[in-house]
């Protein structure tokens, strides 16, 4: 089921209606069943796999917590961790080992489908195991609550990755229907639909043909397409996150934000805090800080960063492209750290104000260009294709993209950035700062009809559903 679709809205509407009309004691069982039903639309087998992961982590975490000795705790922790990771690796990476490394012709690993959202719920269950092992929280005693925290449908497919205990706490509060939550959630869903259907899909329809016939296009086309692509991914993924947060809010559950206007970051390091924030936070909490973070020697610090970025690449997929993307991002972060003092000195020398417009513009342009540069690895099908795109970027020939397409891309980017100006909070929407009621209501209407008018296009799945 596509998130940005009418069937999803119907499903959500039914869930909200039934959830708040049911007795409080069975609400969560209903929500759990609804979440499994939602996931079964992507494949019934995937549900079985998720139930297995849920049961394994639920049981081992309980045993781990109640074990008397440190060694017994460690054994249970590792059993949970390894089984969880084994499922993740088996389904996400084994076909790569099969195809690329062992080349088993008759073996059926290629037929194993990658369960949608496995990267997201595996990280969540891993975090739960680690937290229980470290005695940060007691394990959940109710399987229903725990299973629901893993499978809660708004965040099941592509996050935001929220800790299980945070969701469980909210579920246990069993809040009543709130009009304010419903209105706010609805606005977020509308904003998410707009970003996905109007902005992301419009850009996707222009740039997808370019990547299927790169040779035809000139350097300027490819530069524009590369910039457009990162805005497409941003509108797509942040649109999904807004729909997820909005849907959860309608059900009385607060999910964390995933994006905080990342292109307005001061530098490339800050970009990673504002882009896919819940994944960054997870990696920071469970990998980066335990490794020593930046409170260690410079060499170790850089190694820690390298390790984290390698994991980011692997999390997206074990392909050369994702690794190249992650490692080039790492190089930009390193460059950002190493040139920080020099940049401050230069700004002082040029009498540029710290929060002045010129600095802001320079930061914006440099962040966009850096992300667009590494984004080529993310978009291209193969590493060779990525290098070919880079090579072609410097061959300036006549534009084959067409004036209409160029203008359409620029309009999409301008509209997105303009509407974002009215978004005050990271977990907000573009209607927040429009104080005039008439203008705000007109904006709702314009956005609804913009979505309707462009909705006849073929479905384009969310970029991050594949992870």
């Amino acid at each position: 089921m596509n998130f940005a679709s009418f069937p999803y809205l119907c499903f959500l509407g039914m869930c909200i209606l039934l959830y708040f009309t049911l007795r409080k004691s069975i609400r969560n069982i209903f929500l759990l069943l609804a979440s499994y039903l939602f996931y079964s639309f992507f494949g019934l087998g995937f549900v079985g796999l998720m139930i297995f992961t849920t049961l394994v982590t639920f049981i081992t975490a309980r045993y781990c917590y109640s074990a008397q000795t440190k060694s017994a705790q460690l054994v249970y922790f590792f059993i949970g961790l390894l089984l969880d990771l084994a499922v993740f690796i088996l389904f996400k990476y084994v076909h790569i080992i099969d195809v690329d490394i062992l080349n088993w012709p008759a073996w059926s690993a290629q037929k194993l489908l990658i369960p949608i959202g496995i990267s997201f719920y595996t990280f969540k269950t891993l975090g739960y195991c680690i937290d229980v092992y470290k005695r940060k929280y007691a394990p959940e005693s109710s399987l229903v609550y725990y299973a629901l925290s893993v499978s809660f449908f708004p965040q099941l497919i592509a996050g935001p990755i929220e800790k299980s205990h945070v969701i469980i706490q909210q579920l246990k509060q069993n809040s009543n229907f709130s009009t304010a939550n419903f209105k706010e959630g609805g606005k977020l869903i509308l904003w998410g639909f707009f970003k996905k259907i109007v902005i992301a899909d419009t850009i996707a329809l222009i740039i997808n043909p370019v990547y299927s016939d790169i040779a035809k296009y000139g350097g300027l086309d490819l530069i524009l397409v590369s910039i457009a692509f990162i805005f497409q991914v941003y509108a797509d993924f942040s649109g999904y996150s807004d729909i997820a947060i909005g849907s959860a809010k309608c059900l009385g559950i607060e999910l964390p934000y995933n994006f905080n206007k990342p292109f307005l970051s001061k530098n490339f390091s800050q970009f990673w805090v504002r882009w896919h924030a819940t994944l960054s936070a997870w990696l920071r909490e469970y990998i980066y800080v335990p490794l020593g973070g930046n409170r260690t020697s410079k060499f170790r610090w850089f190694f820690n960063l390298f390790f984290v970025f390698t994991l980011i690449g692997l999390w997206h997929g074990a392909t050369y492209n994702y690794m190249a993307w992650a490692l080039s991002a790492y190089m930009w972060v390193l460059m950002d750290i190493l040139t920080k003092k020099f940049r401050i000195k230069l700004a002082l020398k040029l009498h540029l104000k710290k929060r002045g417009h010129i600095i802001k513009i320079i930061s914006y342009v440099s962040v966009v260009l850096m992300v667009a540069g590494i984004g080529v690895f993310f978009r291209a099908d193969t590493l060779q294709q990525s290098f070919y795109v880079f090579e072609k970027m410097f061959c300036f020939g006549p534009s084959k993209l067409g004036l209409v397409n160029c203008l359409l891309i620029l309009t999409c980017l301008a509209v997105l950035e303009f509407l974002q100006k009215f978004q005050a909070k990271p977990k907000g929407h573009c209607f927040e700062l429009i104080k005039n009621t008439y203008v705000r209501i007109s904006t709702y209407v314009v956005i609804i009809f913009a979505i309707l008018v462009v909705s006849s296009r073929p479905d384009i799945t969310f970029q991050y559903f594949q992870f």
């Binding site: 069937p7 009621t437 209501i441 007109s442 209407v445 009809f449 309707l452 008018v453 909705s455 006849s456």
Partner: protein, 315 residues
């Protein structure tokens, strides 16, 4: 402002915007839509029509109807045989055409799974389909009803097709040649065609769409009712299509006995003009793996005319 007033204002604005879009769209679409124009031509036709040519882009791009005597071309891009049935029915019921023969396609894609799930120009076609018939058109009637109501309530959502925005691009495409592409590109094109238009289910055993075959029976019954003799045509395809079907769907799928619609046609002794392999080795006459270009159309029409004439002399 009170919540009630805000809601009222919102609803009024929605109603106004919807009405404006609805009427502006209808006004433009009823002038610009090529299918509406085609119907208008049919209605205005005063000449005796001997042969009606129906079908999809293969017929539209393959046959130059101006050099065929007393023929009228009703074919249109992306028209599957279910929509052909409804269009034919509408024309026969509403216009004074009285054709003797109707030329229908029976290519591999005509009854294929992907092509029959891919519905475009819904704004026009759903106006021909009755509410009760909608459920017959798909294995998932809910999906079809959803589309139907969407088009009926918000017809402007189909603006891209209704206003024929791709018309210029289509005309431009017909000037190209498939032979200009390198072998990898040619195969990629054929593979893409297979995945999107032939077998959307992605299963080797599931090339044909059973509902589409039911509509073939309906079309034949309609012809019988109006005393029209059907003739089926298999339009030219490139070798790459055969290679892809053979290797990636089922090697036996190309055998006639494994094509249920064709078996059905042959069992009723209806003639089939087979041009499938005619230009398999002439990629210069196509612009993609399954569409003739302008040169292909010019070369194919006389051959088609000759074969059709000799058939109609005895049929």
């Amino acid at each position: 402002m009170k919540f009630r007033n805000k809601t009222l204002l919102f609803l009024i604005l929605c109603a106004v915007t919807h009405s404006v879009l609805y009427f502006v769209f209808y006004r433009i679409a009823n002038k610009e839509n090529p299918l509406v124009k085609q119907m208008a031509l049919c209605k205005a036709n005063k000449k005796a029509v001997k042969v009606l040519i129906a079908g999809d882009s293969h017929a539209e791009r393959g046959i130059d109807v101006s050099i065929i005597d007393s023929a009228l071309n009703l074919s249109y891009y992306g028209e599957n045989n279910m929509f052909t049935y409804y269009k034919l029915k509408y024309c026969l019921e509403n216009f004074d055409l009285k054709p003797k023969y109707v030329v229908l396609p029976c290519d591999i894609p005509t009854f294929a799974n992907g092509f029959n799930h891919f519905r475009i120009n819904n704004f026009f076609y759903y106006s021909l389909v009755g509410f009760k018939d909608i459920k017959d058109m798909r294995d998932e009637p809910v999906v079809e009803y959803y589309r139907y109501f969407k088009i009926k309530l918000f017809p402007y959502t189909d603006w891209k097709y209704a206003l024929d925005l791709a018309g210029k691009t289509r005309a431009q495409k017909a000037k190209g040649a498939f032979s200009d592409k390198n072998p990898e590109e040619q195969m990629a094109n054929a593979r893409n065609f297979l995945q999107k238009e032939l077998n959307c289910a992605g299963r080797r055993e599931n090339l044909f769409f059973s509902i589409s075959i039911e509509y073939l029976n309906k079309t034949l019954a309609l012809c019988k009712e109006y005393n029209i003799k059907p003739v089926f045509v298999k339009y030219p395809l490139t070798q790459q299509v055969f290679d892809v079907v053979k290797n990636e769907v089922d090697s036996t799928a190309l055998q006639i006995r494994n094509r249920p619609p064709e078996m059905l046609i042959r069992n009723q002794n209806i003639p089939v003009l087979n041009f499938e392999y005619l230009y398999a080795q002439k990629p210069e006459l196509f612009f993609d793996c399954h569409h003739l270009n302008n040169a292909g159309k010019a070369a194919f029409t006389p051959i088609f005319k000759q074969k059709l004439d000799s058939l109609l002399r005895v049929y």
